[in-house]
Amino acid sequence: MARLAHKMAIANSHIVADVVEVSEFPDLAQRYMVRGVPKTVINDSVDFLGNVPEATFVEHIQRAASLDVT
């Protein structure tokens, strides 16, 4: 997931892709309720757990883009 997220940021100027070692940042673990890894959060509005295929990641991105009103 981490490398795929980075690839998407390489390809698109709208994307900031962060990979976060969650054990070092307990405040983020708490804020995003990270109980398993990898956990991916998009724009604070969509999240999913585990490794998913590229096409599924893209679906989540589309959902986040449609939810995000800003």
């Binding site: 390489i10 709208h14 976060v20 995003y32 724009n43 986040a64």
Partner: protein, 151 residues
């Protein structure tokens, strides 16, 4: 203490033979202070992350490490949207968005670091055409956070 054994180093050098363009690694770390100031957040992994990155960049002349010792109000940190350390931004010509890593990339995540360095260096992501199409149609900013743990 060295993180990378001579064997590690020779394996990584082989991987780095595939680097194409130069990569800038902007590393943000805590300003070293001999004083312990109450309320000041400590960064237990900053030193190790810096040492590891120094060992990694020594293995290829295409990798350029820039170390920024920052405090929360540092301009360079603000400019790059860095609000916590240790933080790494990988940049290269042709890379469009921001590729960042927070924390010490150890265990399995070390291989993610190496992989992303290669991808950034090529400035080419082997994504499917469908993915590229969807991404290109985006007109809003997206922030991905992938939470991982060292294994």
């Amino acid at each position: 203490m060295a993180f990378l054994s001579p064997e590690n180093q020779s394996d990584i050098k082989k991987i780095f033979a595939d680097l194409s363009g130069d990569v800038r690694l902007l590393f943000f770390t805590q300003r070293d202070s001999p004083l312990i100031i109450p309320g000041r957040e400590d960064c237990p992994t900053c030193k190790d992350t810096r040492a590891l990155l120094e060992e990694v960049v020594a293995l290829s002349d295409k990798l350029h490490l820039e170390i920024h010792e920052v405090s929360p109000d540092s301009e360079i940190a603000r400019e790059h949207g860095i609000d916590r350390v240790p933080a790494l931004i990988m940049m290269a010509d042709g890379v469009k968005g921001k590729v960042r890593y927070f924390g010490l990339p150890s265990g399995y995540e070390f291989s993610v670091l190496l992989g992303s360095l290669l991808d950034v260096s090529k400035a080419e992501a082997d994504l499917s055409e469908d993915t590229i199409e969807v991404l290109n149609a985006l007109d809003k900013d997206l922030h991905f956070q992938v939470f991982v743990t060292p294994t």
